[in-house]
């Protein structure tokens, strides 16, 4: 009788232990999960973390992060995240806060250790060179979030990411720092080549929105103007005619549009001025450093090809 009760007790304890092991978080063997909001940030995270972390991206290449419509699956992705890596400067503000709340994950609330945004590491851009005073007045420096298109800012944010990852997962600190050096090296090796290529191949450029301003600054490309200075508001006919004058004065050869923009307006302007219009990607498929550097390679190559 006593023996039977003892056996029952052991079985019960074993069951409890089993349940506890299932319910409680596992030991430190699990990888750190990083969720990035855009593909380029996922590539930076992969460059630093590589096999020591698990990286997931919320938006895919080709999706406009400004107007992204998250699905329930995206909230589940955030539920298990250890670090949320965002662009910041308002890019994701229309959909990310509610998604974080929906995920119920306290670790990734803005301000906590599990939330890193570009705004934590860098300042937004100032007024780029080559702009008229009218354009400067429409320029809102705190509203331009497209910093990942400047490779040097990519390095700065990668440094902040390295520090943050080391805090979360101190065991691998040395490995993260080693990869940061490689990442930095890869970019600084390519940067002079990119700049040379652009100096030879392109003059002043008109773009649709202010998306590529960081890229232009990094590659020393002159900006002649925007087709839509205020996002989502149709330009006036007078402004379009003004742009035609600018194209003539500055010998602009090329108009860049994002994959998401209204191509009809850009095409109309290009046709009226007798110049070319091209679609420039702001993200490219690929893994880690190779993916991030490959994005610039592809952009530079496309611009060079269209400039001829």
């Amino acid at each position: 009788m006593l023996k039977k009760a003892f056996e029952l007790h052991i079985a019960f304890t074993a069951l409890l232990l089993l349940l506890a092991s299932l319910l409680l978080p596992g030991p430190a063997t699990a990888k750190t999960i990083v969720v990035a909001t855009v593909p380029a940030l996922a590539q930076i995270a992969q460059a630093i973390g590589d096999i020591d972390i698990e990286v997931k991206a919320l938006t895919r290449v080709g999706q406009d992060p400004n107007v992204f419509a998250p699905r329930p699956g995206h909230a589940r992705l955030l539920t298990h995240a250890d670090l949320l890596f965002t662009v910041g400067f308002g890019l994701e503000s229309s959909w990310l806060p509610s998604l974080i709340e929906l995920s119920g994950n306290d670790k990734i609330i803005p301000g906590s250790a599990g939330y890193l945004s570009g705004g934590d590491a860098i300042e937004a851009i100032g007024v780029p060179r080559g702009m008229s005073s009218q354009q400067m007045s429409e320029w809102s420096p705190d509203k331009n979030p497209h910093w990942w298109l400047d490779p040097e800012l990519g390095i700065k944010v990668a440094k902040a990411l390295t520090v943050r990852l080391s805090e979360i997962d101190a065991v691998n600190t040395a490995r993260y720092q080693q990869r940061l050096r490689l990442f930095e090296q890869a970019i600084y090796e390519a940067l002079p080549r990119w700049r040379d290529y652009m100096r030879i191949n392109t003059g002043a450029v008109i773009t649709y929105h202010n998306t590529y301003v960081y890229f232009m600054q990094a590659m020393h490309i002159e900006l002649a103007g925007f087709i839509e200075p205020r996002s989502g508001i149709e330009p006036s006919t007078r402004y379009m005619d003004h742009l035609l004058e600018v194209i003539r004065e500055k010998h602009v050869q090329l108009i860049w549009v994002e994959p998401y923009n209204n191509r009809a307006i850009a095409k109309r302007l290009a046709d009226a001025a007798g110049i070319k219009m091209m679609v420039l990607p702001d993200a490219v498929e690929g893994y880690g450093t190779a993916g991030y550097v490959g994005m610039f390679d592809k952009m530079i190559e496309r611009i060079a090809r269209w400039s001829q």
């Binding site: 080709g62 006036s236 006919t237 007078r238 209204n262 191509r263 307006i265 109309r268 009226a272």
Partner: protein, 272 residues
């Protein structure tokens, strides 16, 4: 230069759309333009998903929607406006699901739905005029309330509206379709077509030049100008029609109808 194409494009729709708008208004199917445009855009997205040229896929889905609409009797007890609204939300939802599966889909569909009057060139204006001409020839002549008659009407309608929205955007098309016709509407019936046409043309000219002078977005400015002119005209027409002579005309029409109807019903019964 760009000012000129904008002006001519808004004048072309000012000539084509108000007359069509009167047909749309008397049938109480104002949502038809949004529904057709959305069906076409969704068709375009579907085409991209299954690797068929978008224009053909858009034409195919629009044709299906046109056949579906033509199946609906004009005297149907259903509120037609509600049916059009349902077609719109259904097509929009299908489009959204398709887009969630396609990279770069959003930009394409937005481009389709929100064409811009700034983006149109002379070739585009020519195409717009051509489609509108064919569409008006199909939609304007009186049709019988039969499947073939309704099919001709809706085909004509879609030939005008879908290319127009693609070329110059929802805002302008909706405004030019509805506002002039609504403005000259009186006592439950359409007013003279020339009135609607004239005020639409005035709005095109005034709106385009005001937008250029004040450095404002042309589409929205033209629509606002049209709205102002339409409200003024509508108010004048309303008060002019309060006179003693005019009301008799619709009344006699009504009386005639009431007198005719029993006969018709009897006649139909006798025939059977």
């Amino acid at each position: 230069m760009i000012l000129l194409t904008v002006l001519v494009a808004t004048l072309v729709i000012a000539v084509c759309l108000p007359v069509l708008g009167q047909r749309v208004l008397e049938r109480r199917i104002v949502f038809v333009d949004l529904a057709l445009a959305q069906v076409a855009a969704t068709g375009y997205a579907l085409g991209m998903a299954i690797d068929v040229p978008g224009v053909f896929a858009a034409a195919a889905t629009t044709a299906i929607a046109v056949i579906f609409m033509a199946m609906m009797d004009e005297e149907t007890p259903l509120p037609k406006e509600a049916v059009m609204g349902c077609v719109y939300v259904f097509a929009a939802s299908v489009g959204m699901v398709l887009l969630s599966l396609l990279p770069y889909g959003e930009g394409q569909l937005m481009g389709l739905l929100f064409g811009s009057v700034l983006g149109i060139d002379w070739q585009g204006i020519g195409e717009l005029a051509l489609f509108s001409g064919i569409g008006l020839a199909l939609a304007l002549p009186n049709h019988t309330n039969s499947f073939s008659g309704r099919l001709r009407f809706y085909t004509g309608l879609s030939l005008i509206i879908v290319p127009a929205i693609y070329a110059i955007g929802v805002l302008l098309v909706f405004a030019y379709l509805v506002m002039p016709a609504l403005s000259v509407w009186r006592r439950g019936h359409n007013g003279p077509a020339w009135e609607a046409l004239t005020l639409a043309a005035i709005a095109s000219i005034v709106g385009t030049f005001v937008a250029d002078m004040l450095d404002l977005p042309p589409s929205a400015t033209v629509v606002l100008t049209l709205a102002v002119i339409a409200v003024i005209t509508g108010t004048i027409i309303h008060y002019n029609n309060l006179g003693p002579e005019e009301p008799e005309a619709p009344d006699t029409e009504n009386k005639e109808k009431i007198e005719q109807e029993p006969e018709e019903i009897l006649g139909a019964a006798h025939k059977k």
